[in-house]
Symmetry: C2
Subunit: 307 residues, 2 copies
């Protein structure tokens, strides 16, 4: 088997390594628990050695927090608007143990926020490589700990914003009064929908103005302790949609293309309906596809025919 490229999707809490085949498909994937904030003894070099052990000496392309200031090697941001083919021209390279060379994809910076991303730019590149029709004008949402709302225009990331919905949910549940006395429960779609509706009906004041109602409703028995977390999740995701509409990241007149993990995307789609928004699913595996696309554009695959 010819291995023209090894790809690394290397975030703050985990590392995924992809061994590509000639056609740009993923022949082998390894998932390691080594993120830029959680490394083995020996640091990045040791984590890298584990990730690629036994794989051929192909070019390596990495994206994500591995390129941050606290990462393996800082890969400076490119400012938006930024054409996606510009990523390939701005790789930071690192000659490295094991005789391999690792190239790191730059992150993006939106000066309007300011706001920054690392890793998601490669996913956007992968999505547009698979669905070129979106390159002209599209709205994307990558929900998660730090949701990214991205506007694509003319083959470029025109701008983006981060909403800290997932992290806000986690810290409020674990460390605030809203988590006190609540119980673990099965996913409660009804409580989630009630949270979304509460955010929507709060109007201009927004869902965060109703945060304390999660507590008051539980105290008076109108919300079961096992339903509080889902209510809170709905309230925060609903408020994220309100903010996205207010700042024109989302619009009732255009679909939003969702990129992310299935269960979370399903929640966002449920919330979108309550706001009259249309959310569309996107193909999976775009992270790996993005690495392949950037590697090709950077000429890293040129040796392929000789391998």
């Amino acid at each position: 088997m010819i291995t023209p490229l090894i790809g690394l999707d290397w975030g703050s809490t985990r590392l995924r390594a992809y061994r590509f085949d000639e056609a740009g498909g993923v022949a082998q994937t390894r998932a390691l628990p080594w993120g830029s904030r959680h490394l083995p003894e020996g640091g990045f070099a040791e984590a890298f050695a584990q990730a690629v052990e036994g794989w051929p000496c192909a070019p390596v392309l990495a994206c994500g927090m591995v390129g941050s200031r606290g990462g393996w090697r800082e890969a400076p941001y490119l400012d938006t608007p930024c054409r996606l083919d510009a990523l390939a021209g701005a790789l930071t390279s690192l000659a490295n143990p094991g005789g391999r060379t690792v190239h790191i994809v730059p992150g993006l910076r939106d000066p309007a926020g300011p706001d920054v991303m690392r890793g998601e730019e490669t996913q956007v590149a992968g999505l547009l490589a698979q669905a070129p029709a979106l390159a002209e004008d599209a709205r994307l949402l990558m929900p998660g700990t730090h949701s990214k709302w991205v506007r694509v225009r003319d083959g470029a990331v025109a701008g983006f914003t981060t909403v800290m919905t997932g992290e806000l949910f986690a810290v409020l549940r674990a460390h605030s009064i809203l988590g006190a006395g609540v119980a673990e429960g099965l996913a409660d779609d009804e409580a989630f929908a009630r949270g979304v509706a509460t955010a929507r009906d709060a109007g201009a004041a927004g869902g965060l103005s109703r945060l304390f109602s999660a507590r008051a409703l539980m105290l008076e028995g109108a919300l079961a302790p096992a339903a509080v977390a889902d209510f809170l999740s709905g309230l925060l995701i609903g408020d994220e949609l309100r903010m996205a509409l207010a700042a024109d990241w989302a619009s009732p007149d255009a679909p939003v293309h969702l990129v992310g993990e299935d269960a979370l995307c399903a929640r966002y789609r449920q919330a979108a309906e309550a706001f009259g928004l249309s959310f569309l699913a996107t193909p999976g595996a775009i992270g790996a596809q993005g690495l392949w696309y950037v590697a090709a554009a950077a000429g890293l695959l040129e040796g392929l025919s000789h391998a």
Copy 2:
């Protein structure tokens, strides 16, 4: 010295005991670290015994979380709109060790939220007893861990809402990425003002949509690590003002009367200027005055002339 009343302001984290003189002044104050969520061995009864030790056997009136479901004795809420003289008619009484009787002021519930308060209703009663001109129509703000925005009309609490600004600040700073790598610093009014302006300039999307900018600004060196906390504080307080304006708790056409600790009130006044709002200081010690007012209205002071 005659002691017509002992007052207890008993919250979730602390207990203040007031020994009143004949004129309704506070002759002696004791501060104890016993809140409803933090009690000595022996629980409420032991904390109470310490608070009143050596004081005459006068009627006791308590307000705050001591009357919550997890408190000493549950004192049911009164729904808004609620006249302040109705508090005195709805005391919950508790015949108690030491031969004393403890009366507990009810909390208030706003069914529109729903929202609840315990303790603040007594402060409102104290404020209106000292400044009767406010009883007809006033807007109040009691900033803190859980800020309370209160609308007074016709001698009643017409409604109120809780904004969790203080708690949100604390959990984000201690447990989120926004607190990572930040340094302790002196109070930085400029960073605070910058956070307030960021919230204000975010328009309808609101300050929470700019939360991640605190991180991005620090990463690019545009916000010193020691200034992040004040920036975040300004952003959250600014967003609280935006919400209050959107939901008509605050208005550019009417002053807001501020009730609270001096340093925090100064911060809110600074933020109010950026939003074109007028915030006025209120007299201190209204908590004790509120207990005196409610006790008088309830007839607890009737034995006074015989003491």
